[in-house]
């Protein structure tokens, strides 16, 4: 595992995916996590991708985070990104009930349909808790739903950065706890196809005919 590598020092690489309705703050949450800033973003086009190196649980980790567009028209794209993800973050807006109900009606089903990873860790995130006065989805509801579909749960605010780090940290800790996911994320598994000869070609050498 601790193979000395010249390129980017890390022990594990995890692929995380963020899903949820348009406007719930997926991209803001990601931005808040990766660069500690908050700004008003225009809707994501298709998919966005960010990398963040973190130290969690005594391990150096590289997180590859895919942030998908929530807009209906891009829905068709999202399906292909579930593949191989070790963690999936389902985000809703605590001030908009439809974003919460859509998680169970649409998004949870998508995960079931497209995720290739049996053990993949799911996390339910209620965003925008800074707007406490507008809140329509209670914490209790969130907890119940999370229990129902067997996922982690946290409420946070991308704007005030409350619980943002914790959100990703808890998810990653859980992944680290799951041996099968750990094995997938270990460096040993991956290799560069452009730098290696394909396995087959060794079989025949030049004098064969």
């Amino acid at each position: 595992m601790e193979s000395s590598s010249n390129q980017g020092e890390f022990d594990y690489l995890f692929k995380l995916l963020m899903i949820g309705d348009s406007g719930v703050g997926k991209s803001s949450l990601l931005l808040s996590f990766t660069s500690d800033t908050f700004e008003h973003l225009s809707p994501t086009i298709g998919v966005d991708f960010k990398v963040k190196y973190v130290n969690i649980g005594g391990k150096k980790l590289k997180l590859a985070i895919w942030d998908t567009a929530g807009q209906e028209r891009f829905r068709t794209l999202t399906s292909s990104y579930y593949r191989g993800a070790q963690g999936i973050i389902m985000v809703y807006d605590v001030t908009r009930r439809d974003t919460f109900t859509n998680l169970s009606e649409i998004w949870a089903k998508e995960i079931e349909l497209y995720s290739t990873n049996q053990d993949c860790i799911k996390m339910l995130v209620g965003n925008k808790v800074d707007k406490e006065s507008d809140r329509v989805v209670t914490k209790k509801e969130g907890i119940n739903f999370a229990r129902e579909c067997g996922c982690l749960f946290i409420e946070c605010s991308a704007k005030t950065r409350v619980n943002v780090q914790q959100c990703f940290e808890e998810l990653v800790l859980k992944i680290l706890d799951t041996p099968s996911l750990l094995a997938e994320g270990s460096r040993g598994v991956r290799k560069n196809i452009f730098k290696e000869r394909p396995p087959q070609s060794d079989a025949s050498t030049s004098g064969c005919c």
Binding site: F49, K62, F74, S80, S201, S204, C208
Partner: protein, 668 residues
């Protein structure tokens, strides 16, 4: 069109352009993968590949960490296209990463669906007009191809001439060798099978893409390809100094990518060639028109001025006659025709699509192409290639000239083919073997060192018909399969001694072919061919010229910007001591080595110590990404390449993205 200079005029919506850009990115990455592992040639890593490649492809932690990837920002291949398409820059890294981090097939379906889903009502008329024009153009190109049917006759004549002239000895030996051949057959069968598998594999792979569930209209496909090609040619890269792509124009890697994309979209390649011609012609005509009328003073004029100054055309401008090549040859009829400024050939198509339809098509074609100055790199070629008699300058090569072959010159063709003969008996043999082939490339034959080549070819031929070789043949020495000789080093002493007198001429010719290779590389590097993707085809010592050219390119070039495809036939090149990997790297698309296990002419000429290193012309080369094709059954002897080359090329179907050799199907 009343568009601002920055946003292109497009018939696609923003979402569709995003999807088109994504598909292009996926194809670009796939094309790079296929360079070292051609589609379907590695069927064994298909089934589990889903997860294995997803973790392995691209190296991959992330695209950003691997500057060697074509989809990496630094390659300068993808972002200019995104920029032209008007895809917002925030979405770029997501697309690059998507393309580079997982197998294309996971995503192609989704993006095709995205492309198909959205309606763009008002533009559908233009889409229709454009696709009609493309169809018409393709039809006219096909028509010119049909004409060449009569040329087949010509080839037969040529073939017969040759059979009479020089096959006596070889044919005899081969007839006698029939028994041994079966032995060869066995080993080649394996090879054929591999290729067959490849075919099937690739076929199913294409089918695999869930294209059928998406109703992506033909017109939309054509529009997408049209806009992507324009994006490839557009002069929109800039800013990045670190960019490893050195030149503007039509990058060979882009053409390979478009070829794959056309395969995915199930659009015939000739349609893509029609699109190329239309983009080329309308872009040049528009540029010229703006220049003349001075209507749009600023940007377009300065672009055109830059173009003229030679910044874009590059060294070709120095040869003089360049401007004539552009204005006189290619664009003039177009300008005269005003907006209907497509290819001259298009003019005859008005009856087919109707005058108004034609106007619509012309403006549709022009809208996209004209909205951003195309980094026109073509057109100068005619003067550039045929005008460059570089030999005098270098001195080490006595003769090095390009001769025009076929009728596709100054027709706005966006790809060039250079063909190199290597076994010749008179000057005509530099051109005649290539005359018949029918494709839509702008074609040139390289005539080089005719004196030396004729000398060596004649020496070999004389020896073959000499008594001593006849004698050897009777004894069966020549019938032994060449590669077993190679393996065993068991050359009959008589054979070695007998060929002494070939050696002197051969050594000179080999030396000259290396030098000619360097010259060819220089021609390409300087862009005399107009920075268009080049297909190189050569047999015998001509194949060696091409190989050496690739090696010289590899000295200064990092990437396959220039050369799209390569076919080597009966190549006198050792396998072991040459850097095939480096040569392969210079080629963006298919790299074919056609060999004949029975080509003992080549073996005799090449022989001695060199044979311990293997020989490309009689053996497969074990380098990832090189398609080895056994043409033993088509070749009676080395001189057969003179007339059989065209047939082999037809069987190779060079316009197909994945490895094909139809011959294997026929044999079995």
């Amino acid at each position: 069109m009343a568009t601002t200079t920055n946003t292109m005029a497009s018939f696609l919506t923003a979402t569709q352009r995003y999807a088109a850009g994504a598909l292009f990115a996926l194809a670009l990455h796939q094309a790079q993968i296929n360079r070292s592992r051609p589609l379907g040639l590695f069927p064994d890593d298909e089934p589990p590949s889903d997860d294995r490649t997803s973790s392995s492809s691209g190296g991959s932690d992330s695209v950003a960490d691997d500057p060697d990837l074509w989809v990496h920002e630094i390659s300068g291949l993808l972002r200019p296209v995104f920029r032209f398409l008007g895809i917002e820059s925030v979405a770029w890294s997501g697309l690059e990463e998507t393309a580079g981090s997982s197998p294309a097939k996971h995503h192609v379906g989704a993006f095709l669906r995205l492309l198909a889903e959205e309606e763009n009502g008002e533009n559908s008329d233009q889409e229709l007009a454009l696709s009609r024009a493309v169809d018409a153009m393709a039809r006219s190109m096909e028509k010119t191809l049909e004409v060449s049917e009569s040329k087949k006759e010509k080839r037969r004549e040529y073939e017969n001439e040759w059979r009479e002239k020089c096959s006596t000895a070889e044919v005899q030996s081969n007839m006698d060798a029939a028994g041994i051949k079966s032995e060869v057959q066995k080993s080649t069968d394996e090879n054929n099978l591999a290729i067959e598998d490849g075919l099937d594999g690739s076929g199913s792979k294409v089918d695999e893409k869930p294209i059928e569930e998406v109703v992506l209209g033909y017109q939309r496909k054509v529009t997408v390809l049209y806009e992507l090609l324009t994006a490839c040619l557009a002069d929109t890269h800039a800013d990045n100094k670190k960019c490893t792509r050195k030149r503007k124009g039509y990058d060979a890697r882009h053409r390979v990518t478009l070829r794959l994309l056309a395969t995915w979209l199930d659009v015939q390649w000739i349609k893509m060639e029609a699109i190329e011609t239309m983009v080329a012609c309308s872009a040049m005509a528009l540029a010229e028109k703006k220049e003349e009328s001075n209507e749009e003073p600023q940007s377009s004029k300065s672009k055109w001025a830059k173009w003229k100054r030679g910044g874009i055309i590059g060294a070709a401008a120095l040869t003089g006659g360049t401007l004539m090549a552009i204005t006189g040859g290619l664009a003039a009829p177009a300008i005269a025709a005003g907006l209907s400024a497509l290819a001259p050939t298009l003019g005859t198509l008005i009856p087919v699509i109707g005058a108004s339809g034609f106007a619509a098509a012309a403006s549709a074609a022009g809208t996209v192409a004209g909205s951003v100055a195309v980094a026109a790199s073509f057109g100068a070629a005619g003067a550039g290639l045929t005008g460059s008699k570089m030999a005098r300058r270098t001195g080490s090569v006595d003769e090095f000239e390009f001769r025009v072959v076929g009728e596709n010159h100054n027709q706005g063709r966006l790809a060039v083919e250079i063909m190199v003969s290597g076994f010749v008996f008179n000057e005509e043999d530099f051109v005649r073997p290539w005359e018949v082939q029918s494709d839509n490339l702008e074609r040139y034959a390289l005539q080089w060192e005719s004196k030396n080549l004729i000398a060596v070819s004649t020496a070999i031929q004389d020896w073959l018909t000499s008594r001593i070789s006849m004698e050897l043949m009777k004894q069966g020495a020549m019938l032994t399969v060449l590669s077993t000789l190679v393996a065993a080093l068991a050359w009959p002493a008589t054979l070695l001694a007998a060929t002494d007198f070939i050696d002197s001429t051969w050594t000179i010719a080999v030396d000259r072919s290396d030098k000619a290779g360097r010259l060819l590389a220089e021609v390409l590097l300087k862009g005399f061919h107009g920075n268009r993707p080049v297909t190189l085809v050569g047999y015998s010592l001509g194949a060696r010229v091409i190989f050496k050219c690739l090696q010289f390119l590899a000295e200064t070039e990092k990437n396959a910007e220039l050369v799209e495809r390569v076919v080597l036939l009966g190549a006198p090149i050792p396998i072991k001591d040459e850097n095939w990997g480096a040569a392969r790297k210079m080629v963006a698309g298919r790299f074919v080595n056609a060999y004949s296990t029975n080509d003992w002419t080549l073996g005799v000429a090449f022989r001695a110590s060199l044979l311990t290193q293997g020989l490309a012309g009689i053996q497969p080369i074990d380098v990832p990404g090189i398609e080895n094709v056994d043409v033993t059954d088509l070749i009676e002897g080395h001189s057969s390449y003179l007339w059989a080359t065209q047939q082999i090329l037809e069987l190779l179907e060079l316009d197909t993205y994945y490895p094909v050799f139809r011959g294997t199907k026929c044999i079995q």
